[in-house]
């Protein structure tokens, strides 16, 4: 406690100015959205199935995408953080590539891979007659593609923060590698995984470019909230603002709720 107080005394106050500018920069557009919102007839704008259907689809697909990312991303992060092998930095760059790829390009890449004439998709289409584009599964794939790197980067960072000597200590006490991973590494990794999942979920929820390119846009099957907002913007900006507010409110409610529950550590 005394340590912390001493540290606070040496706080560089010069940081507060850019921090305040940062907050203003991030919050101002949201405030503008609130100011321009059509409050007087907000309820009439929102009291339709056109809002609930895409909202439910968005929440479902973002959650599924996060689950897929957890299953694939945590082991991947472990490989990147704990295994020493040639080409590791290349692998890391490849894995984080979707972060720098414009999402629309990501969508085209997914079509080229999993579309009915894609590298993998052609094989699936020829064998079963099934093609992924225009399905809800395609929405989950697009969101996972764009959001999983966020989880991998967060979890890898958290893994690097954990002293590997804990693993070594467990090993010297006779724990198997799997036992060490599930009983030592994973519990210490909890907050990192939680933070990564939240980021991943938030990114999946807001996903637009890859989704509309790979999965298309059809109400009920592939039209998520961001797609619905974008299309509304073309002819009814007020409805678009109203829809954005719903998406914002729901994500803030969920993120704040999760933070209380998970990220207290």
């Amino acid at each position: 406690m005394t340590d912390r107080q001493q540290a606070r005394g040496r706080l560089p106050y010069g940081l507060l100015v850019p921090a305040a500018v940062g907050v203003a920069f991030l919050v101002l557009p949201l405030v503008a959205l609130l100011i321009r919102a059509p409050w007087s007839h907000l309820l009439t704008l929102l009291a339709t199935d056109d809002v609930l259907t895409p909202l439910r689809l968005s929440l479902e697909t973002a959650t599924l995408a996060t689950l897929v990312s957890l299953v694939l991303g945590v082991p991947l992060a472990w490989v990147l953080a704990r295994l020493n092998f040639r080409g590791r930095s290349l692998l890391r760059a490849l894995v984080t590539l979707p972060l720098v790829l414009p999402p629309v390009v990501g969508g085209v890449a997914l079509l080229l891979a999993f579309g009915r004439s894609g590298v993998m998709g052609r094989w699936l289409y020829d064998a079963t007659g099934y093609s992924l584009p225009y399905t809800t599964t395609a929405v989950v794939i697009a969101e996972t593609f764009v959001a999983m790197p966020f989880l991998v980067v967060s979890v890898e960072g958290a893994l690097r923060g954990i002293d590997p000597r804990y693993d070594e200590a467990a090993a010297t006490l006779g724990a198997s590698r799997w036992y060490t991973f599930t009983r030592v590494t994973l519990p210490m990794l909890g907050p990192g995984i939680a933070a990564g999942s939240v980021l991943c979920w938030a990114r999946a929820l807001g996903e637009f470019g890859a989704t509309i390119t790979f999965a298309g846009n059809f109400p009920g099957t592939t039209q998520t909230m961001p797609l619905s907002v974008y299309l509304a913007l073309q002819n009814d900006p007020e409805a678009a603002i109203a829809l954005s507010l719903v998406l914002l409110a729901v994500s803030i409610a969920i993120l704040a709720g999760l933070r209380e529950r998970w990220l207290r550590a």
């Binding site: 991030l26 972060l99 720098v100 414009p102 999402p103 629309v104 085209v108 079509l111 080229l112 579309g115 009915r116 004439s117 093609s131 584009p133 225009y134 966020f150 980067v153 967060s154 960072g157 958290a158 923060g161 907050p191 990192g192 933070a195 990564g196 939240v198 980021l199 938030a202 990114r203 807001g206 996903e207 637009f208 470019g209 509309i212 390119t213 999965a215 298309g216 846009n217 059809f218 109400p219 592939t222 039209q223 961001p226 797609l227 974008y230 299309l231 509304a232 073309q234 002819n235 009814d236 900006p237 990220l263 550590a265």
Partner: protein, 282 residues
């Protein structure tokens, strides 16, 4: 531990904010460039004839807001106009007609507005932001775009609504989608697209990549896409022809040049370039 977690989260959030900004735009200028190249050639040969009209204060810079589907033709026309009228600069700004109209009515400093539909033009004229009556300068007709191999063997408009055919159209809120809806209604066909795209270029992308059996787009888009798609004319398209109007924006600081540019687009030079790109006479 806690601060490290917060730091990781903060870094990644910063990345997310930068990256998600890339999500919106999806139009591809590459598709239009083919039309632009051929159009530019036509325009250059036609340019000297209009040099006589260069008198009367036609100089300086004008800003032209034009519909995205005019990207190829107006880029070529802007360049040849500058050649025909030395001392002028045409600044072009392309986008969805409705987006451009909204910008103009909220006071964007624009001299000329060229829209892809009379409906979007009406947004500007209704607010009194146009000078005089808009002049129609081109027409665009719908066409069925299919992959070169035509996997679903589309031969007629009715073929596009057969079961099992993956049909892609624009959303009804976009001019190309409104036109498609109108054409299907006129033909008394119920259409079940697998996707309602935000703009005509996205429809073309799906067809080009062979992920759609048929897409309803404009003739000019099929022409601009070259050999990547096959265009199929259909008589029912006559019921949903898009008219492109052009108008001088009220408050233009360079009215003489704005008027000269409109005359250039409506005149023979403009019509030659537009016809080469697949537009029809108004």
């Amino acid at each position: 531990m806690r601060s490290r977690l917060a730091l990781t989260a903060a870094t990644a959030t910063a990345c997310a904010l930068v990256l998600s900004a890339c999500g919106g735009s999806s139009s591809s200028p590459a598709a239009a460039s083919a039309a632009a190249t051929s159009a530019a050639a036509a325009a250059t040969s036609a340019a000297p004839t209009s040099a006589a009209a260069g008198a009367g204060g036609v100089t300086g810079t004008i800003v032209v807001d034009a519909a995205a589907s005019l990207t190829g033709t107006f880029t070529a026309l802007g360049k040849s106009f500058e050649v025909a009228h030395p001392g002028t600069t045409v600044k072009l700004n392309f986008g969805g007609s409705d987006t451009l109209a909204a910008a103009i009515t909220s006071g964007a400093p624009v001299d000329v507005f060229a829209a892809a539909s009379t409906k979007t033009m009406a947004i500007v004229t209704a607010k009194g932001d146009g000078v005089g009556t808009p002049t129609p300068f081109a027409k665009n007709e719908l066409e069925i775009a299919v992959p070169p191999s035509n996997p679903a063997k589309i031969a007629s408009f009715a073929d596009t609504v057969k079961s099992g055919v993956k049909l892609v159209t624009c959303a009804a809120t976009v001019p190309c989608g409104a036109a498609a809806t109108k054409a299907y209604a006129a033909a008394k066909l119920t259409f079940k697209p697998v996707s309602l795209e935000p703009d005509v270029k996205s429809v073309l992308t799906k067809v080009e990549l062979n992920e759609a059996d048929a897409g309803i787009v404009y003739k000019t888009d099929v022409l601009a896409a070259g050999s990547k798609v096959l265009g199929i004319n259909f008589p029912e398209a006559a019921g949903a022809i898009a008219t492109y109007p052009i108008v001088e924006v009220k408050g233009s600081k360079n009215a003489a040049t704005a008027e000269a540019f409109i005359a250039y687009v409506v005149g023979s030079e403009g019509q030659t370039v537009l016809a080469a790109a697949g537009f029809e006479k108004p």
